[in-house]
């Protein structure tokens, strides 16, 4: 017996749907061209010279002491950031899910802490750490009287990255802990275990794979991070910054390609372990939903110390963000604390601020709807349809998640500056706004796809089948049924893509040409020059824009979201 006949019929049915086939073809072409091809070019570049295949480029690069140090630095920082973020994230999640907090203030603080890193540009915390603890830092110089504290380097990066990434872990653990059936812990309590024993013997083993998962996710984020090491790293190079300097400083494109391959391989290995070993296991341990609410811990000997630690961390984080607008409002940070609007005026009068905002805004505004729609289409195909190249589409769009921006940037330089494979085809793309938009899309696609997939999995397959059965073709099904049902996910994908695009820097900084001024690139330049007043002014406006976008999204979801449509005309 063979299943070939049904496969053939399925194929014929698929081809009877030209829009669907067209979409699949376009998608595959897009993913191949803009994700696989640049990475392939990096491989080719770093292994093949005019004399044929060789390892000499790698040998050369690995022989550079600076690069070897950068690898060690990256791994060291990544490991510590992974551990710290996981622990802090777990603490926050545990306190939120297990401890009776009662106050609205605490709830609000927790919410803010979880949202801030999402809406803020990636290097904001670096700016404020410099302003608080640097040479002219308010805390170090003015409160503690240390005249030249050095925040640049290992501890600076670790602090900033931990504060940036722990909210991700916090959200992950929150989901995990929520799904633990309280009766498991109650059973242990009932048999005589102390709270600590319950945590070590029940809760902890249950979330152990999740712990590994969170650790690796932050580890990957840390080693892929470009902006923070750039601003607060000082002479402490990491892989991402080394690659950037190798291109912009040493003009060594082959070397940069080889370095990018090294970084890519490291992140890919971790990504594979994270995605296929830990992620599956961390959800498999937890079966089903909690049957009822958990009895929160009211015991003050547990409550007060845990809540205090969280409160301090949260206040610290919030304080860091508040620092940024003040950085832009003080006349001279650290010396003259008179309030002034001159930095805000200056960015528009002297720093071409208007053009920067316009360019960033327009490019992100173009990229975000395309990203949102693409990711919904990919999710729809992956979850609801069955065809041969589906695995490819899913794998490549997830792969983009594991590719650090710097690596992608180098890949685009190598892949498109001379056209496809140096042939001149598509060369016109390079240096245009289109390629920036494409980078924005590729960088935000995985997040959108992931949220789309999880939203679609919630929808009973037969709802779409019924529409199909009533006579709708794939396009009509997608437009009239699928998209309206995942409106929330689509809207939030739209805003996430916008926020990610307008705050993106790692890949963009390598590809941007003087024709386009981008805010993030401007901030980076200003921060490097030590012009913190202007940098903060830019960052403040950027945060206001992104925060406004999120507010707008929440408003729209509330107003027009799916959940509202369902309760319409209740009573």
């Amino acid at each position: 017996m063979a299943r070939s006949r049904s496969a053939e019929l399925d194929r014929k049915k698929l081809f009877a749907d030209p829009i669907l086939i067209g979409t699949i073809v376009v998608l595959i072409a897009f993913l191949t061209l803009f994700i696989l091809y640049p990475l392939a070019v990096l491989m080719v570049d770093s292994f093949i010279t005019e004399e044929g295949p060789t390892l000499s480029i790698f040998q050369r690069v690995l022989a550079m002491p600076n690069f070897r140090t950068a690898i060690a630095n990256t791994l060291k920082v990544g490991f510590l950031v992974g551990v710290l973020s996981t622990l802090v994230g777990l603490l926050f999640a545990y306190v939120e899910e297990y401890v009776q907090l009662k106050t609205k203030v605490m709830d609000g603080l927790f919410k803010v802490v979880s949202m801030l890193p999402v809406v803020s540009p990636p290097f904001v915390l670096s700016l404020s750490v410099i302003m608080l603890f640097g040479r002219a830092g308010i805390i170090t110089r003015h409160l503690l009287g240390i005249p030249d504290n050095n925040v640049y380097g290992f501890w600076g990066i670790t602090l900033v990255q931990t504060l940036t990434f722990f909210p991700v872990c916090y959200m992950m653990f929150k989901g995990l802990l929520k799904n633990i059936d309280p009766s498991l812990e109650e059973a242990a309590r009932d048999m005589g275990a102390s709270r600590w024993k319950v945590f070590t013997s029940v809760t902890f083993p249950l979330i152990l794979p999740g712990l590994g998962n969170a650790f690796l996710v932050t580890f990957i984020e840390s080693i892929a991070d470009f902006a923070n090491p750039m601003i607060i790293g000082g002479s402490y190079d990491t892989l991402a910054t080394s690659i950037y300097l190798q291109i912009t400083g040493a003009y060594d494109k082959d070397g940069a390609a080889a370095m990018a391959v090294v970084l890519l391989v490291i992140t890919l290995i971790m990504f594979v372990v994270q995605k296929y070993v830990l992620e599956a296991r961390s959800t498999a341990t937890l079966t089903g939903k909690a049957s009822r609410a958990r009895m929160l811990i009211t015991d003050n000997s547990v409550r007060i110390p845990l809540a205090t630690i969280c409160l301090l961390i949260a206040i610290f984080v919030v304080g860091m963000y508040i620092c940024v607008p003040f950085g832009a409002l003080f006349k001279t940070w650290g010396r003259d604390f008179t309030l002034t609007t001159k930095w805000f005026e200056q960015i528009f009068t002297r720093q071409q601020g208007f053009k920067a905002f316009q360019d960033s805004f327009i490019l992100s505004l173009i990229a975000s709807p395309i990203t949102a729609l693409l990711s919904m289409i990919i999710s729809y195909l992956v979850v609801k349809r069955n065809f041969k190249s589906k695995g490819f589409i899913e794998a490549v769009s997830m792969l983009a998640m594991a590719v650090p921006g710097t690596v992608l940037g180098v890949g685009y330089i190598r892949g498109f500056s001379g056209g496809l494979f140096g042939s001149g085809i598509l060369q016109g793309l390079y240096g245009t706004g289109i390629i920036l938009v494409i980078v924005f899309i590729v960088r935000s696609l995985p997040t959108g796809t992931r949220s789309g997939i999880s939203a679609l999995r919630q929808i009973d397959k037969s709802i779409e089948e019924s529409a199909y059965d009533m006579g709708a073709n794939s396009f009509e099904v997608f437009m009239t049924v699928t998209l309206p049902l995942i409106k929330d996910s689509f809207l939030s994908g739209l805003v996430t893509a916008f926020v990610r695009s307008i705050t993106a820097i790692s890949a963009i900084i390598l590809l941007v040409t003087p024709r386009y001024l981008l805010i993030t690139v401007r901030i980076n330049e200003l921060a490097e020059k030590g012009a913190y007043g202007s940098a903060c002014a830019f960052a403040t406006i950027l945060i206001i824009i992104t925060y406004g976008a999120v507010l707008l999204m929440n408003f729209f979801i509330k107003r027009f979201g799916t959940s509202r449509a369902f309760v319409e005309e209740e009573d």
């Binding site: 017996m1 063979a2 299943r3 070939s4 006949r5 049904s6 496969a7 019929l9 399925d10 014929k12 049915k13 009877a16 749907d17 009973d460 037969s462 709802i463 089948e465 019924s466 529409a467 199909y468 059965d469 009533m470 006579g471 709708a472 073709n473 009509e476 009239t480 049924v481 309206p484 049902l485 799916t562 449509a565 369902f566 309760v567 319409e568 005309e569 209740e570």
Partner: protein, 367 residues
Amino acid sequence: MATEQKGVRLEHVSKIYQDPKTKKDFYAVHDANVNIEPGSFVTLLGPSGCGKTTILRMIAGFESPDEGEIYLGDEPINELTPNKRDTAMVFQSYALLPHYNIFDNVAYGLKLRNMDKEIIREKVIRILGLVGLEGMEARMTNQLSGGQQQRVALARALVIEPGVLLFDEPLSNLDAKLRVDMRNEIRRIQQEAGITAIYVTHDQSEAMAMSDEIIIMKKGLVAQIGDPHTVYYKPADEFVADFIGESNFLRGNLTAKDGASGVVTVEGNSIEVSSVDDDVSVGDTCSLVLRPEAAVLADEGVLPAKVILSRFMGHYQNYHVMVGDTLIKITDFNPKNHKIYDVGDDAFVAFTKDDVHILPTTGEKTA
């Protein structure tokens, strides 16, 4: 109604699936040959995993067969996508579109056909009347009870006037009382609309109550096709006899045969029978199928038995008796004025020759 009734024909249709654990291919449906008459109500009945839903989904177009051809009317439809097939399905989960109200749900298929607004309105209102939901057009689906959602699903399928209406266990999410009401409703509406209906269920009482014809399936194979009477009184094999209602099986030997009549020897007792399956010849071992309600316990009768269980259930007396080594279940209805036997009593199992059916022994003990 303007519906053109269409028949459905399956010729040597097979569907192969892969077992996700063992990676082995197996037949989910094997060589199904079915001819469904236009306008009839046909049930696909069988335990879960027997392939009945797969057949329905192949007719709808959601699955593609690996062997054979499916015809809708005279048209082969293997290569048509579901939206191009003249079928409409009522899903187990109703699958109503949650972002539309009742009117828009029912109008969905008509709008896809680019019909005139006024005509759509008229058709929707009429069909909602037929299913008893007049005046509910503006409600959202989550404001309806399960039974009402079921009616919307039915209305939505009916309104596009399909050649064939498909039902995938549509009543399994309803409570028992509503299930009985709804099955009568569906049958009434099907007859009023004069539409061909194919109905998947694992509930034999549903199948018996609604169908013109029942297709009984077992492990991917069609075990029997027949009207409710035939499958009940002349089951094709022990599986069918046991799946439809309850059956006792007595092993015996056919000692004489004349057409459908014959003599069977069971535990040394010769029994006259009038319904012998064609496959059984003289000298064969065979199974004597006896329905629990077709037999009574008496002081005289066909087979001597010993009572091992006797229980009063209200509207019947439930007996378990041993005939030799074989357990026989007997339900004695309205036992008020009957003689009641107690555990340990000796008695006879009594029945007439028309009350039993003789099958070839399959060796598979189902009782």
